[in-house]
Amino acid sequence: MRSSINRRKFLTGVAVGTTALTAGALRPRTAAAAASSYPDWIPASPKPPKRGGTLTRASAWDPPVLDPRLTQSIGLFQFVGHTSSRLVRYAFPEEATGVTDPTLKGDLAESWQASPDHRTWTFKLRQGVKWQNVPPLNGRELVAADVKYCFEAYAKEGVQSFTFREIEGIETPDKYTLRVHLHTPNVLFPHNVAECVTVIFSREVLEEDGDLKKRLIGTGPYILKEHTRKVRLALTRNPDYFDKGRPYVDELVILSTPDFATRLAAFRTGQSDILQVASPSEVETVRKTNPAAVVQTYKNVLAPFGLALAQDKPPFSDLRVRRAISMAIDRQKQVDTVFEGHGIPGWGVPYMYYQDKAPTLAELGPWWQYRPAEAKKLLTEAGHPNGFETTLFYYEYWPQMTSQVQIVQQELKKNLNINVKITKLDYTTYYGRYVEGKWDGMAWGFQSGHAVGLDERTYMYLHSKSTKNFFRVNDSVIDELTVKLRRTPDRAEQAKITKKIVDRELDQVLRMWMPYDGGFLIYQPNVRNMAALALRRPDGYGSPTVARLWLDK
């Protein structure tokens, strides 16, 4: 007897079943409004902290090497801020007035003062700070000569050299005093040594091993106990940490987990205490299975990505072309669609240095509004009534970026008849080509993701002579203003100059910032004092804030 089930019936059944299964998993995305209401600032817990426990984080990153002189990779700096201290740090949550408060506090330094001409900075070090009690340091005291040695090593070779080469010489009049002489005045020098990548490493390890590839010993709240490449980093509490009584958590474990779905699953099942997600709908997905999870929205103080144009060559050397392109792009559409309504239109200098509130799209000025008719007129005036052909290369840092690139391509074609040929590259090819700075056409460009200091975000990224000037800005007004900013000690005056820099940048469309969203940080409900993001986050480019964190178990 023949069966009544034939191949077609079977395949139909399977297709229906699979569709139903997938539909169940990928439920419709909810509106962004609910997710956007999550706070960007969660105050410190009023409860007395509890000691103990293990905090685990499934992380996308893995450190390529342990030597902070050789890389600024987030893979390394996601934990170096836990093992090692800086001279200066940003205020802890309970010390800060809000999420964007950029006030500097002493980390290894207790106080610091500039000479009247701001070419000499004197740092008074905290006394009694001990290196971690592991060989060859064995808990000896940190002295000014250690910091001098470290800064000189940074200047000599490696990825920090540009920052430290502004140092002319360093003196250590006594064990706890460090006097730094700069080649030129810089009122913002403390900002530069507060960056999370400027950690103090140990002289003994470098001298014994010849490098810092195998051991990383610092004065921070955690001791690096284990580093198994592509598996885990384990950090154990430093009982001799100078901030007495801290840290509270006994052990930090960072599990190398490159796939997002696995990190999400690890959070859902409690294997990971912290999760970063990109979009409001992803937050809602997590909240469905973990309703008690605490969600913190990322406070975007800047957009690290934008359209970089070869502005030293035609046609992009023509200001009218840059303005036309900027006006042909609908940034609000990107915010609404790609970032599900949660994101910023994009700007480059952190707004907290010149105003209290994040700029709106309207405040960015006329060239940043979506006005395709005017854009077309301007491009015609510039001698390109029929548009032109150009190229754009990029690396997909996250999936939304591809959508942004495609929207820009479509809008430039539709509004200006500019044909953009897109090339998607792998990271190494993209980075090499972009940083070399000899490309033509356009790139989906970036500025460093970790830096928050005013000097880094102005002089270092915008001055025509800086090696970090990836957007190839060459503007005499900007050059003059950024140098002037370095010589202006008064905060109010600094804010005015910074605003002038921003206005000039926006008016001349020197870096065509694109919408951005840092996403959300989600953590298990028993994690306390996760702190505010950007300046003092305990994950990503980490900081000693992690020492204030505790587990309410």
Binding site: R2, S3, I5, R7, F10, V14, A25, A58, P64, V65, L70, T71, Q72, S73, I74, E157, G158, V159, Q160, S161, F162, T163, V197, D211, K213, T228, R229, K230, V231, R232, L255, S256, T257, P258, D259, A261, T262, L264, A265, A266, R268, T269, Q271, S272, T289, D426, Y427, T428, T429, Y430, Y431, G432, R433, V435, F446, S448, G449, H450, T467, K468
Partner: protein, 316 residues
């Protein structure tokens, strides 16, 4: 037989030389290098420093010199250090090979454990529901990409069972139970894919053999069905199956790349992919040569297995 093996081994030499030239050439054609990747997004390093670092690593030498140096390193079993991590390559391989080996072995076992019984069942129940189910499973295995299936498995395991394999690889020698938990799902994902083609081949060859005269004779003699199928038919049907399995080992190794990434296992696949992304020439070249060597050896072993399965086959 001995002559055959020696001849096959000698033939492997040009294959390996060609592989080495291809991988060396492809890596040099790709733009960017490990130093650029290592610098992160610093922008702090000038061309002078990069030149010095490239010189220190021998990346400024002519290509033919670089190739010969590398070949010599491989021949002398000292492939050097990773440019990106500075870790000696043998150390990295010593850590990653057991992971991939365990994953591939488990996947192979699971794949065969699914494929052969389902294939036989499908053949002996031709055009019955069991056959349809088996064929649908096989088509699904061929259709579902590893990354999709792996993601789905880990997502639904987390949602439905509040469980996923424990993260943070541990060796089977340190904690066998935890290790088994870590490998079961990824091996199942890989094994499912592997089982598909093997199951289809088993089904068709068993069907073919079941129509042979000697099988009919076995039925006519009144032998039990199980005896006819498993003793007389299956053994003779397995030769093409072995060929298929041998051919799929390459696919299996390729599949480990994705599955190791999803399940956070520090195996050869992940090591190779990251090395490619970061232009870590020595690591990529060594890994590719290792895999090429393994595949050449496996193909030889597959050929030799024929003789074991069918005494009529003799090599000269």
């Amino acid at each position: 037989m001995q002559k055959y093996v020696i001849r096959r081994l000698l033939l492997a030499i040009p294959v390996l030389v060609l592989s080495s030239l291809i991988v060396f050439g492809l890596m040099r054609v790709m733009p960017g290098d490990a130093l650029v990747a290592l610098m992160g997004e610093s922008g702090n390093v000038g061309e002078r420093e990069l030149k010095k670092l490239r010189k220190d690593l021998g990346l400024d030498r002519p290509y033919h010199e670089q190739y010969l140096i590398w070949v010599w390193q491989m021949v002398s079993l000292n492939p050097g250090d990773s440019i990106f991590t500075n870790e000696p390559i043998p150390v990295a391989l010593k850590k990653s090979i057991p992971v991939t080996l365990e994953l591939a072995t488990l996947a192979l076992i699971l794949g065969l454990a699914i494929a052969i019984p389902v294939g036989v069942l499908s053949a002996t129940r031709q055009d019955k529901p069991a056959d349809y189910v088996g064929r649908v499973v096989a088509v699904s295995g061929l259709s579902f990409p590893d990354f999709w299936l792996g993601t789905l498995v880990i997502t639904f395991a987390a949602i439905w069972f509040r469980w996923i394999p424990p993260l943070g690889y541990v060796s089977i020698w340190d904690d066998p139970w935890r290790n088994l938990q870590q490998f079961l799902l990824p091996a199942a994902v890989l094994g499912f894919r592997l089982s598909a083609a093997t199951m289809r081949m088993t089904r068709s060859t068993v069907l073919e053999v079941l129509r042979e005269d000697y099988v009919r004779t076995a039925w006519a003699k009144g032998l039990a069905g199980r005896m006819v199928v498993y003793k007389h038919a299956l053994k003779n049907a397995l030769i093409p199956v072995v060929t298929i399995v041998g051919g799929q080992l390459g696919t299996l190794l390729a599949g480990t790349v994705v599955v190791e990434t999803i399940f956070a296992l520090p195996g050869m696949g992940r090591l190779t992919v990251e090395a490619i992304l970061y232009r870590d020439y020595p690591v990529v070249q060594t890994n590719v040569m290792l895999v090429a060597g393994v595949l050449v050896t496996l193909n030889l072993l597959v050929d030799l297995t024929y003789a074991l399965l069918d005494p009529r086959i003799r090599y000269r």
